[in-house]
């Protein structure tokens, strides 16, 4: 087994083995079709496809691939509003997530700082945050729809946001900001007294203390919050797109469910999972850079 460890094959082969086992399990559960050809009373050939198995309507891995082929092999094709290549859908979703996430960070960091710095602020708002935090995106979205019902925001660039877009962005922002808020607050509270003493002895002004001492000292905690927030923002996208019917991975998933094309649902699930994984990896790389501080 010497060569096995030498080429680090274990870190490569074992995951493959795991994936293989899961595919096998999937295949076992999935329905298989048997095709029988009979002649009817008029002598025409009739093909009858029968599904059977543990979950008769669940497509097998091979069928899933066959059905998703065009979406994966032409990832940027646009055939219709809700019939686009999978990466094109992903891109649309990512753009929406980025807007909501940016809003979450812009709101979350200052709120987190207030929460960490002021005991009064914490006493006032912490209970409210704790109550709002576990509310599901499915619950926020209708409220967002109501809030922005008649709103139409024209951006200077010429892009306009519709009510459903605003509602989606609002939902993503309000669901994903809590980890940033709470981690920033924890980070601010965890600043060693020594650093604050340095600021006091040097008589740094309030703004200077904030930017030269508080902010850099909190940065590692903040990035942990950012990473968790990004995970949630991506989680919310499906719910947001499902309910608003926007084109995107989630919207596509919902449409395909209504069209009873189950293979595409699996394609969407896998895409969401892989994209989420990549986003998390990227954020933890950024996070690791700030951990050393």
């Amino acid at each position: 087994m010497h060569w096995f460890h030498r080429f680090k094959l274990d870190s490569f082969l074992y995951p493959l083995l795991g994936i293989g086992l899961c595919l096998l399990l999937w295949y076992g559960v999935a329905g298989k079709s048997t095709v029988t050809q009979t002649k009817d009373d008029w002598g025409d050939t009739v093909t009858i496809t029968k599904r059977h198995g543990l979950s008769a309507d669940l497509p097998t891995p091979a069928e899933t691939w066959e059905a998703s082929r065009s979406y994966v092999l032409e990832p940027f094709a646009k055939r219709g509003e809700l019939d686009q290549g999978i990466l094109r859908f992903t891109w649309l979703s990512l753009v929406l997530v980025a807007q909501g996430y940016a809003l979450a960070l812009l709101l979350g960091v200052p709120v987190g700082f207030c929460l960490g710095l002021s005991k009064t602020f914490a006493k006032m708002f912490d209970p409210i945050f704790q109550v709002l935090r576990p509310v599901s995106p499915l619950a926020w979205l209708p409220l967002g729809m109501v809030l922005f019902l008649s709103a139409k925001v024209e951006m200077p660039g010429g892009t306009a946001y519709t009510a459903s877009e605003l509602a989606a962005i609002f939902t993503i922002a309000i669901c994903s900001m809590w980890p940033t808020v709470l981690n920033t607050a924890v980070g601010v509270r965890a600043i060693p007294q020594d650093y604050l003493n340095v600021a006091k002895v040097l008589k740094l002004s309030r703004t200077k203390t904030l930017f030269k001492v508080l902010l850099p000292a909190t940065l590692p905690y903040m990035f942990t919050g950012f990473r968790l927030s990004l995970g949630i923002a991506w989680l919310v996208i499906v719910a947001a797109e499902m309910l608003t019917g926007r084109p995107g991975v989630g919207g596509f998933l919902w449409q395909q469910y209504n069209a009873l094309s189950y293979a595409h649902i699996i394609l969407c699930i896998l895409t969401i999972g892989i994209v989420g994984f990549i986003l998390d990896r990227m954020m933890s790389l950024v996070e690791a850079r700030f951990k050393t501080a």
């Binding site: 020594d194 650093y195 003493n197 340095v198 006091k200 002895v201 040097l202 008589k203 740094l204 200077k208 030269k212 001492v213 850099p216 000292a217 940065l219 050393t292 501080a293």
Partner: protein, 305 residues
């Protein structure tokens, strides 16, 4: 009027019902240009004492005065070297000092500031480590940065809070010599806190022992009249050295070493008031309870341990 004066300073911590008096009746006078070492037990309140001078905390009673002006808040005229270096880990050596210099000399040109910072980095022999982060430096080097940062603000008085406490014995000796060398360049007033009597004798003009806490107070100060530069190897046989050491240790182990345990007891005095009959009875029983004129009284008892 002395340069630095502490008059009848008291300081305690904790809420009123469980208060620990840390320092009591601190009287200290330090002249300009003097190097004073305050030697005492760990936990006696040495850091509290230096924080009082730095202005990070205010005394409960008494006054701390620098050049006759009462100290009410921290300020860069008192350079503090903290026990645990207190360098900002995301800044390089240069930037750590720059933060202080920018603050104290805002009107200087960039050139002037850079030359000033580089001068102090050179003073503590850290020029090669100029662009390094504190995490890349050894304990001794970090402490030197901390000293350089304090010096670069050109304070009127330098406060060293166990500056060498976290270092190994050899690094300690080198840094002791280095601090004395830097001090001799411009004879700034220095107050150093230490728990090492020998360190005090090696470096200071005068040693003030601090008795064991709680309720610590300063003992009689002992002048160190050993000529400088003091030779680390020969000093052990110096009769003056032996005498100073005997006096300081004598105080610390004798009179100053006695643990004065202050016990706060609640004394409940029998001063019951007559029951208030106008108070109605309720469903849950009566609200009438014995009331006392003064629920509690306190008494401070000093016990010799």
């Amino acid at each position: 009027m002395s340069f630095l004066e502490l008059n009848n300073v008291h300081k305690g911590f904790g809420p009123a019902n469980a208060r620990t008096e840390v320092l009591r009746d601190i009287e200290l006078r330090i002249e300009e240009g003097e190097f004073v070492a305050i030697v005492g037990y760990s936990g006696a309140g040495k850091t509290t004492l230096i924080s009082l001078v730095a202005g990070l905390i205010r005394p409960d009673m008494g006054k701390v005065k620098l050049k006759g002006v009462e100290i009410t808040e921290p300020g860069p005229d008192r350079g503090v070297v903290f026990q645990n270096y207190s360098l900002l880990p995301w800044l390089t050596v240069f930037e750590n000092i720059q933060l202080a210099v920018d603050q104290v000399f805002p009107k200087w040109s960039e050139e002037q500031k850079r030359a000033h910072i580089d001068k102090y980095i050179a003073t503590v022999n850290l020029t090669p480590a100029r662009e390094k982060k504190p995490s890349e430096l050894s304990g001794g080097m970090r402490q030197r940065v901390s000293v350089a940062r304090a010096l670069a603000t050109e304070p009127q008085i330098l406060l060293l809070d166990e500056p060498l406490g976290a270092l190994d014995a050899l690094t300690r000796a080198t840094l002791q010599d280095e601090i004395v060398r830097i001090w001799e360049q411009d004879k700034r007033t220095v107050v150093m806190i230490t728990n090492d009597v020998d360190e005090g004798i090696m470096m200071a003009d005068r040693i003030v022992p601090l008795s064991a806490g709680p309720n610590a107070t300063l003992g009689p100060s002992v002048a160190v009249n050993i000529p400088r530069p003091r030779d680390r190897k020969a000093i052990n046989h110096d009769p003056e050295y032996k005498e100073v050491r005997r006096q300081v240790i004598g105080y610390l182990l004798g009179e100053g070493g006695k643990q004065r345990t202050a016990v706060s007891r609640k004394l409940i005095l029998p001063d019951l008031l007559p029951e208030d009959l106008s108070e109605p009875r309720t469903l849950y029983g009566t609200k009438r309870k014995p009331r006392r004129r003064s629920e509690t009284k306190r008494e401070q008892v000093e016990v010799e341990a």
